[in-house]
Amino acid sequence: MKLYVLFGMLFMTFQTHSQNAVKITFMPKFESENLTLNKVYYFKNDTLNISNFKCYISNLTYYKNDSIVHSSIKKAHLIDATDSSSFIILENEFFKFDKIRFNIGVDSLTNVSGIFEGDLDPANGMYWTWQSGYINFKIEGSSSLCPARKNKFYWHIGGYSPSFNTLRQVSLKTNGKVSIQLDKLFEEIDISEEYQVMSPSDGAVQIADKLPSLFKSNQ
């Protein structure tokens, strides 16, 4: 009898734990809406759409009162606009936190350590094949202000070498709901000038500098 009670209690604690397991949501957004791929947005004096958005979140660490309470077991997590389940990072554990810190992109050690599986599989389209290295942040689409063929823009932001390092750190007070405000990019980048960034370069570094400000806590 006693044993049953014990098991029952154990079961309940497990249950509550799994229910309260920490979960972070990274929601790609355009202004106040959740991002819809290929939807036409009217933004300032531009008409634009986003056809592809992917980015890596890595080395995610949780803080409470400025001390670390948890480090995510997952090395790197790929957010992919075509798959809403990729917006969620689940920790399978319960703890309290008030701040998170993470990198946008894949760190240099991982970049030089050969082949990985899962989110880091080069088949995900986030790896440059002709020059080793992960693409940290990728966004593609078209914009009426973009002078390229069919108004298409490509921002593939990556590069891990000291001269073109595009890994950026974000530190954010949050309870778990984070938005990625993609509209901000179109405010900050002059798309009539900078519409094709597809290799580690000064242009990529400049765009990388703007990425942390896209991440907002969404209480």
Binding site: N111, I115, D121, P122, A123, T129, Q131, G133, F164
Partner: protein, 343 residues
């Protein structure tokens, strides 16, 4: 009972020694080769993975129109370089920008390609598979095609105890095969091991090599695998800036990865664009063709002077770096998938 234990011990011992022998069998560099750069731990070399890698290396299934394999540009009989044309041909006969380098002793290289664009052997194969003028495919397409083959499913199962075909399994298998391409059985190596001796001419050539070439083409690989500018005039049709393409650092303009001098008789034409057909032309370049530029390697501040006899001596030494055992090693040669497992 005791007897059984003894027999069992003996059996275990024999099995164990087989495992050891088997291991040495794949990768046995001489002891004057330094420690490899490649991390052999995950996963360790294994005969099934190597065999799978070898079959993939020779299979045009990796290219978009099933016409080009790795070996189309990296032939075993040319120490895995390519000799037909200076600039390697890819699908639809489009011409790549560079000469296909020989492949051996890859376990000791820090970077790959003439400009060091690739930072790890495992990642290298993604470049030719995806390059529009090489194999013109992409890794997802390759995985799809391999998945349709029963024979490949079986090979992957044998190699990885799991038949799901993934990027990492394909790349690891290709690496494992290429890691077994070790060239260490030249006359030079035999002299080094005390098994043979140089002729007077070769000895003289060795000294000339040490004085003029060894700072870049250093022993025992005959390359330091660094990036240098050896004074080749720029080919205006290609305007290839080498290492600079990757780093965009002015100091890297016109620098290319130093190639090995092993197996030169099999790897012509020479240089990143295959501009020289013979070793005579190469030596003449070093004695009278060096073009000055800002990034020219300092060694060439003083010009290299060689009499015609010395040139002959130097070449006779270079020929002691040919490794016939390596080039004609059957274990590295063509293997068709149907030889392994019938569909």
């Amino acid at each position: 009972m005791r007897k059984n234990v003894i027999i069992l011990c003996l059996f275990v011992f024999i099995m164990f020694s087989f495992v050891l022998i088997k291991d040495n069998h794949f990768f046995y560099p001489p002891d004057y080769f330094p420690k490899p750069v490649y991390n052999f731990e995950q996963p360790p070399l294994d005969s099934n993975k190597i065999e799978l890698g070898r079959i993939l290396f020779y299979d045009p299934i990796l290219s978009k129109d099933n016409t080009i394999s790795c070996a189309s540009c990296h032939s075993p009989f040319n120490a895995f370089a390519h000799t037909d044309h200076d600039l390697s041909h890819g699908i639809f006969d489009s011409i790549g920008n560079r000469n296909a380098p020989a492949l051996f002793n890859l376990a000791w290289q820090k970077t790959f390609m003439w400009d060091g664009a690739i930072n790890h052997l495992d990642m290298q194969a993604l470049a030719p598979i995806s390059h529009p003028s090489e194999m013109g495919s992409n890794i997802n397409e390759v995985i799809k095609k391999l998945n349709e083959s029963k024979a490949y499913k079986e090979l992957f199962l044998n190699a990885f105890q799991d038949s799901t075909i993934s990027t990492s399994k394909i790349l690891k298998a290709l690496s494992q095969f290429q890691l077994t391409l070790v060239s260490s059985n030249t006359k030079y190596d035999k002299v080094k091991m005390g098994k043979e001796t140089f002729t007077e001419q070769e000895k003289n050539g060795y000294q000339l090599y040490k004085n003029n070439c060894a700072s870049c083409h250093s022993e025992p690989f005959f390359s330091n695998y660094n990036f240098e500018n050896n004074g080749l005039p720029i080919d205006p049709a290609l305007n290839d800036m080498g290492r600079y393409v990757i780093t965009e650092n002015e100091n890297d303009k016109r620098k290319f990865k130093v190639p090995s001098l092993r197996n030169l008789s099999f790897t012509y034409p020479y240089m990143h664009d295959g501009r020289f057909m013979t070793l005579q032309e190469v030596i003449n370049h070093y004695t009278s063709g060096i073009e000055y530029s800002e990034t020219l390697s300092l060694q060439f501040n003083k010009s290299i002077e060689l009499s015609s006899n010395e040139k002959v001596d130097l070449i006779s030494f270079l020929l002691t770096l040919n490794d016939k055992d390596f080039v004609f090693n059957k274990k590295h040669q063509f293997k068709k998938i149907s030889d392994q497992a019938k569909e």
